[in-house]
């Protein structure tokens, strides 16, 4: 009784190698994004026609691109875009997925049938193709790309939240709440939601790498971020023509992406071990 569950949780965090490594990696990305102005030696769109396609050196750590922009600086500024994608994307998917999942699981009946059908339908369509279709309709740009990815991804949240809601809504304390005069809305958001937060956190951390990857892919395909944005996907796509003369142009943004996605991935893995009771007991 003395050791609070929260403290206990943090103690077990230290012991989880996956979680700690992932946490440090993601934290480093966040720190770089916050202090981008201090870390980056040049501006992300500071073109210098005299230093085009320079190999990595002391002056330009990762070299320069075809317009003479410092790649290191661009990658540093790119972390902001990546994190923005992660935050907004996860936020959007959460809001859509959790709300629909709660409604579907709590009320059941025709509403549930309809939403489940819709979720299954979105599952059937290959994600990227659907995202491209959505972007074609609502127009390109980073924000629209994020929206498109969210429209593709909401279903996995809804499914997860729906399943959890259904199992919790039959527990005795929900009945207590109802017989206490609580409205359906407050049952959903004050009784059920807090009880499925661990599941939601795990789902978010498992979905984040995918969200980042897909949005980057859209940028790579030219329907996401627009030049001169230092989006990593866009940088890789800009490097295609110069791949023989300046391979660093595509290697470094690619590595940055791998680093970030890998960090989120093992952070998610670690979180799942820590939070998902079912996995823990195995």
């Amino acid at each position: 009784m003395n050791q609070s569950p929260i403290k206990e949780f943090f103690t077990s965090c230290y012991k989880n190698v996956n979680f700690m490594i992932g946490f440090i990696m993601v934290l480093s990305v966040i720190v770089v994004a916050i202090f981008a102005n201090q870390i980056a030696p040049y501006g992300y769109d500071a073109a210098d026609p005299t230093s085009i396609l320079l190999a990595p050196s002391g002056e330009h750590l990762f070299g320069t691109d075809n317009m003479g922009r410092d790649l290191f600086s661009r990658i540093v500024y790119g972390t902001r875009i990546t994190l923005q994608v992660a935050l907004i994307g996860a936020g959007l998917q959460l809001v859509i997925g959790v709300t629909l999942g709660l409604l579907s699981g709590y009320f059941g009946g025709p509403l549930d049938k309809g939403l489940t059908f819709l979720a299954d339908l979105t599952y059937c369509i290959p994600g990227l193709i659907m995202a491209l279709a959505v972007v074609t309709i609502i127009g390109s740009g980073l924000t629209n790309a994020i929206i498109a990815i969210s429209i593709v991804n909401w279903a996995s949240y809804t499914r997860m939240v729906r399943a959890k809601t259904m199992s919790i809504r039959n527990q005795a304390f929900i009945e207590t709440g109802i017989s206490f005069g609580e409205s359906s809305r407050s049952i959903m958001f004050r009784y059920i939601l807090p009880n499925i937060v661990p599941v939601i956190i795990v789902t978010v951390s498992m979905q984040l790498p995918g969200t980042i990857m897909s949005t980057t892919t859209l940028s790579f395909l030219g329907v996401g971020s627009m030049p001169p944005s230092p989006d990593w996907g866009l940088m890789v796509s800009e490097s295609i023509d110069y791949i023989a003369r300046g391979p660093w142009m595509c290697i470094f943004p690619g590595l940055a992406l791998v680093y970030t996605v890998f960090g989120f991935n093992i952070l998610g893995e670690g979180l799942r071990d820590l939070l998902d009771v079912r996995m823990k007991s195995q």
Binding site: E175, T176, G177, S179, F180, G181, E182, N195
Partner: protein, 323 residues
């Protein structure tokens, strides 16, 4: 004897099942006055809890068909709309459930949960918290202040049931429905909980509807008793009517199944068989298949309602119960 608070008339509840309708509750009538403790007694599967849940429209949606009336303060509870019944729940009728161990939200402190209910009535946070501490003292919670800040998993079963009672009393309901409130608890805690319920009745004039299968508990607290079997009320009366002169064979058999201190009857008696599943057209007495006195008449005709006195009635062909 206080004014009439709840009057249940011809309450029938049928569950839709694969092969038609399952009659869970049939033609139940009873009344409850302010400050009165009514016990509904019967085995598992007799429809006791179904009756209680139906009053607050808590039956699993869709497949239960409820007919009849439940007049509470001049309103028929069974016909109230969703928003209206939400206001009745907790505010006018509180309900304590069987299993205190799972009946509290695991992610909030117990005090917070009780306070939340009080805040539904538009009371400020500090005021609500003060009320919580008072309530905890009312239900004899040891160390009220720190228990209010505990999470449910940090409390024992008895304490959690006290929290439940505090929660349901928080809004001063006129009627408290206790659905087997002590089943999951041990005997010493049971006695304490019963004392609390009785004290609350005395202090606040709350009517209590107690659902139980334990006749010992009935003798302890109840004023009136409704004995149910397979969805039928087989006998009603004051606690003295029922204990001194049980008329229906089921009542007497249930009482024989009570553990006693004197070992005069050897082993504890049991009633053979189990409650039948009543579907479709059922004729005759529902207890006939287990009744030691059943005759041909019992299997073909519905037993009549016999009025013994103003308060005591039963439905059986036999006279004089078990004797």
């Amino acid at each position: 004897m206080g004014e009439k608070l709840l009057k249940v008339e011809n309450l029938c509840i049928d569950y839709k099942v694969k092969d038609g309708y399952l009659s869970a509750v049939n033609n139940v009538n009873f009344e409850l006055r302010r400050g009165e403790i009514l016990a509904i007694v019967g085995e598992s599967g007799c429809g006791k809890s179904t009756v209680a849940h139906s009053l607050l429209q808590l039956l699993a949606g869709g497949n239960a068909k409820v007919t009849g009336k439940a007049i509470f303060n001049d309103r028929n509870l069974l016909e109230l709309k969703r928003q209206e019944i939400e206001k009745v729940r907790g505010r006018e009728i509180g309900m304590i459930f069987q299993n205190p161990l799972d009946s509290l939200n695991p992610v909030y402190t117990t005090g917070w949960q009780v306070a939340e209910g009080i805040e539904l009535d538009g009371v400020s946070k500090e005021e609500a918290w003060k009320r919580v501490i008072e309530l905890y003292k009312d239900v004899k919670m040891p160390d009220a202040e720190s228990r209010a800040k505990s999470f449910p998993h940090e409390l024992s079963g008895g304490m959690r049931q006290r929290v439940m009672i505090a929660m349901m009393l928080a809004r001063r309901p006129e009627l408290l429905i206790a659905d087997e409130p002590t089943t999951a608890l041990d005997v010493t805690i049971e006695a304490q909980i019963l004392r609390i319920i009785k004290a609350l009745r005395d202090d606040f004039d709350t009517a209590v509807m107690m659902i139980t299968h334990n006749f010992g508990l009935v003798a302890e607290v109840a004023d009136f008793v409704v004995v149910m079997y397979a969805g039928h009320v087989v006998e009603t009366g004051t606690v003295f009517d029922i204990f001194d002169e049980p008329k229906h064979p089921y009542t007497s058999l249930l009482m024989k199944a009570l553990p006693r201190i004197k070992k005069t009857e050897g082993r504890l008696q049991t009633i053979d068989g189990s409650v039948p599943r009543i579907t479709g057209d059922f004729v005759g007495c529902r207890f006939a298949n287990r009744c030691p006195y059943a005759t041909e008449q019992c299997r073909t005709q519905e037993p009549p309602l016999v009025q013994v006195s103003g308060t005591h009635s039963y439905s059986c062909f036999r006279e004089g119960g078990d004797k």
